[in-house]
Amino acid sequence: MKAGVVIFPGSNCETDTYDALNYLGFNTEYIWHRDSSLHKVDLVILPGGFSYGDYLRCGAVARFSEIMEEISRFADSGGLVIGICNGFQILLEAGLLPGAMLHNKSLKFICQTVNLRVENNTLPFTNQCGAGEILRIPINHYEGNYFIDDEGLKELEDNSQVVLRYVDENGEATADAAPNGALANIAGLTNKSGNVFGLMPHPERAVEEILGSVDGAKLFLSAKISKEAVS
């Protein structure tokens, strides 16, 4: 399966993501933000970092990159897209996912491993997870305090678009369990059709035992297995 990691000026997790995908058996390549083609990849990943220095708002400038038009078309035709951290913020700004990010409630940059509960394991990104399985994956951000209006939240919940929620050690989505203050403890969500996935945690940093967790691998491998099942 061919995966493409998009590089914007200021991305800084592209090499980790590239390595993780290759390690997991993907045929991976980089895609430059000024490219006009997605190189026929099966999975597009927008990695973490600080695209365009996070100027104005995180992801606000990157969403107008040339490659984003192609990514929108790819997503509209059912192609699999994952946005990690800043990649998630770009997808929100681009309107490929609903809602927006606010500063972390604590006004602190947070870098820690969190517990995430899998809320929907029927997606191309979670089919290798158990229902309600707890994943341990690191987060690393200043603006991960997810917000959407009441109507939007209801829609997300009704359509099972919430994929990952921050939970405590007992698996409960308590207010304290969301380190950034995210609404409804939302750490990751999909679009309505379930082919575009944005998440604040960094699964590429949890793919080998030496990194402390292999739980992130399940999300990438789900995409791989889902694609192989189709082809």
Binding site: L102, L107, F147
Partner: protein
């Protein structure tokens, strides 16, 4: 050359954590008569002329300068 001043703030009802923190800091400095603090962004644009200026500003704000999901804006043209 018209100068446009755009003020961007978080929409009402959205917790402004920076504003809250500054409000507390002011309180601890003895400024107790401040009800609320809101933190926002200020953008200053200089236009070559004022042709369709309101329409252009609104479009810029909706497309790039603000995120309507979380932000409101006001502007003045000088």
């Amino acid at each position: 050359m018209p100068k446009v001043k755009i003020y961007v703030t978080l929409r009402d009802g959205i917790l402004d954590v920076q504003g809250k923190m500054i409000h507390r800091a002011l309180g601890s400095l003895g400024y107790e008569n401040v009800d609320e603090v809101k933190v926002g962004k200020y953008l200053q644009l200089e236009f070559e002329d004022d042709a369709d200026i309101d329409q252009k500003i609104k479009k810029m704000c909706e497309q790039l300068l603000t995120n309507p999901v979380i932000e409101d804006y006001t502007y003045e043209v000088e």
